[in-house]
């Protein structure tokens, strides 16, 4: 008696595995093609997301595209729009959000109040206390060079580059204790470098202690009020379009433009990344087409075997299942190889270009490991799905034919 009995699934799987080895050169070609396709997708997706992440960090450091402030407010023209300027005039904090402008990708409100005798610095020094919304901000937190290892919370302050205090130390502002949460890098923008930054909630809690004109706290410290907005354009919008849209939607505001070339570069790079994505999709689609043609030939070649299986009582689902298993095994292996090759390419990239960028002070931010793992799994899964889809139609057609026709076929 045979010593190694096999279950049906193992038998059919074994049949599929052995068939893979029948025409080694063709199967290696198939696996290599799938490996190339899935490798390009994995590597491309990882690099694209990493570049996007690095770009996002880089460009947000370059400031907003536009700044929206009250019409009568004075503004200093600086190279980068990072922070609003002090003014007695105020806007409603939800004014821009309510307008729902398609040319605006995101906006962040800021409150600023210039105070004296705050307890920071020497007695007569004026200090800009700047409030921002941590969840919406994109011009302050990207400049954090050091911070306490936790999320920003009420009572925390961030110091501009020109101010110095140990992280985590206590800072009294108008006699009220605050914690130094972090410190910003040098930006060259005076208000930004000398500012003391905190959340709206922290700044509003200080309001009763801050004397304004006539003794009442400054109007901007009231909840729902803001000094101005920093605006990032939508990917396909121009500064001019956004300016017109804002001016027609909001009354009594002034729109200040930043360096328009930065927005153009960002939009251009975003378009380039979209182009790379399209190229990747095209490459994957062509791999899928090739796999489909190859499997069509494989099924044609094995019609007699499929006919024999049908003749001895295999159901169509069993015949299809065997062919799909075979295809999934081959293309899944290709996908796995592609990911391994992709990792090697990424390592090479890390040791060359990323190393160079780092040396010249341009940070390159890789996507995190779980995301990269998810991309790898997705690339392998996509390769397997392509194999299954590629074989499904020819196998389905073959399985519909009479067993006798299949058995009489050449192959």
């Amino acid at each position: 008696m045979a010593r190694r009995p096999r279950g049906l699934r193992w038998l059919l799987l074994g049949l599929a595995l052995q068939n893979l080895g029948r025409r080694k050169a063709r199967m290696l070609f198939l696996i290599a093609a799938v490996a190339l396709g899935s490798g390009v997708v994995f590597t491309g997706a990882t690099l694209m997301q990493s570049i996007n992440r690095s770009m996002t960090a880089g460009f947000t450091r370059m400031g907003a595209d536009l700044m929206v402030v009250p019409e009568g407010a004075l503004t200093n023209i600086t190279a980068a729009l990072l922070v609003v300027e002090p003014t007695d005039l105020v806007l409603d904090a939800d004014a821009l959000g309510k307008a729902r402008l398609s040319s605006v990708r995101r906006s962040a409100a800021q409150k600023i109040v210039r105070v004296q005798h705050s307890g920071i610095g020497s007695h007569h020094d004026s200090v800009d206390l700047i409030g921002f919304e941590p969840a919406r901000d994109f011009t302050i937190q990207p400049w954090l060079v050091e911070k306490v290892n936790r999320e920003l919370r009420r009572g925390d302050v961030i110091l501009g580059a020109a101010r110095d205090a140990p992280l985590g130390s206590e800072l009294l502002i108008f006699g009220k204790p605050h914690t130094v949460y972090g410190r910003l890098a040098r930006t060259g923008v005076g208000t930004h470098e000398r500012g003391v930054f905190m959340s709206f909630a922290t700044l509003e809690a200080l309001a009763p202690a801050i004397p304004g004109d006539g003794g009442a706290p400054p109007a901007v410290l009231a909840p729902g009020k803001t000094t101005g907005f920093l605006v990032e354009l939508a990917p396909d919008a121009t500064a001019l379009q956004a300016r017109f849209a804002i001016l027609s939607a909001l009354k009594g505001v002034k729109v200040v433009s930043g360096d328009s070339s930065l927005g153009g570069i960002r939009q251009g790079l975003a378009a380039l990344l979209d182009g790379i994505l399209a190229l990747m999709v095209l490459m994957f689609a062509s791999s899928a087409l090739m796999v489909s043609v190859l499997f069509s030939a494989i099924v044609t070649e094995r019609r007699r075997e499929l006919g024999l299986l049908k003749a001895i009582g295999a159901r169509r689902a069993q015949v299809l299942g065997m062919m799909v298993s075979e295809a999934v095994l081959a293309t899944g292996l290709g996908g796995l190889l592609g990911v391994v090759l992709g990792v090697l390419v990424l390592r090479l990239y890390e040791h060359s270009l990323v190393y160079y960028l780092d040396r010249v002070g341009v940070p390159f931010l890789w996507i995190d490991a779980p995301t990269m793992l998810a991309y790898a799994v997705a690339a392998i899964a996509m390769a397997s799905v392509i194999g299954a889809l590629a074989v499904l139609y020819p196998a389905w057609r073959a399985s519909r034919r009479d067993a006798y026709d299949l058995v009489r076929s050449e192959g």
Binding site: R4, L11, A311, G313, A314
Partner: protein, 222 residues
């Protein structure tokens, strides 16, 4: 009882329609040995394929115990082929990538109800009975053509079919092997009561049959 009623099979070719079987009526009582004879191209194999559920007739019926097999659904027909028909082709029809014992066990494993028992034990017993007890783990290419044909017979018998259809099962074998194979088939017919429909050019062999069906130009002559 195996019956054919007005059975017709035509093929569409580039040169027009070719009629392979033209309105055959046939009755083969259960347990009988019937020989199908006729010249090459007379329609014998097409008839066998339709009876075995392998090729859909253009017209007519194939009745097994009064059930029209071609009215069954695709899954039911597969179950019918699996459980009630054993088909032996005129060529070695083993799957080359499976061992002999796997080849023989496979039909039983395709049906979940049969797969539960000692399928491999039955496969091994059948192969041993056909003189292949020492070749259970051999692959088809590792045994002779005659041994392959015996393994095919074992595979056809694994599910204890009601009808055994053998389409020139000894066509390319030497005389001695042919005698041995035919002895096995006739033994199955006699001992198990399996209906045997045998296509053959060997008139001496056909004369041993209880019923001879002579086919010419797709029709039954006698």
């Amino acid at each position: 009882m195996l019956s054919c009623r007005h059975l017709r099979k035509s093929y569409a070719t580039e040169r027009g329609t070719v009629v392979a079987v033209e309105g055959i009526d046939l009755d083969v009582p259960a347990g009988r040995f019937a020989a199908v004879i006729g010249r090459s191209g007379s329609g014998k194999s097409s008839l066998m394929a339709m009876i075995g559920g392998l090729s859909r007739p253009s017209n007519g019926q194939v009745l097994v115990d009064s059930m029209d097999i071609w009215s069954l659904s695709d899954a039911e027909l597969a179950r019918f082929r699996n459980g009630r028909i054993g088909f032996i082709f005129q060529f070695a029809s083993l799957l080359p990538t499976l061992r002999l014992v796997d080849n023989v066990a496979l039909p039983a494993m395709l049906d979940h109800k049969r797969a539960g028992g000692d399928v491999y034990g039955r496969a091994a017993t059948l192969l041993a009975r056909l003189g292949l007890g020492d070749h259970l783990d051999a692959y088809p290419t590792e045994v002779s053509a005659g041994e392959q044909r015996r393994a095919v017979i074992a595979r056809a018998l694994i599910n204890e079919p009601q009808v055994l259809l053998a389409d020139e099962p000894t066509s390319d074998l030497d005389e001695q092997t042919e005698i041995e194979i035919m002895d096995e088939l006739l033994g199955v017919n006699r001992e198990l009561g399996t209906t045997l429909l045998l296509v053959t050019h060997n008139l001496a062999l056909a004369e041993q049959a209880e019923q001879i069906v002579h086919i010419a130009n797709g029709a039954v002559v006698t």
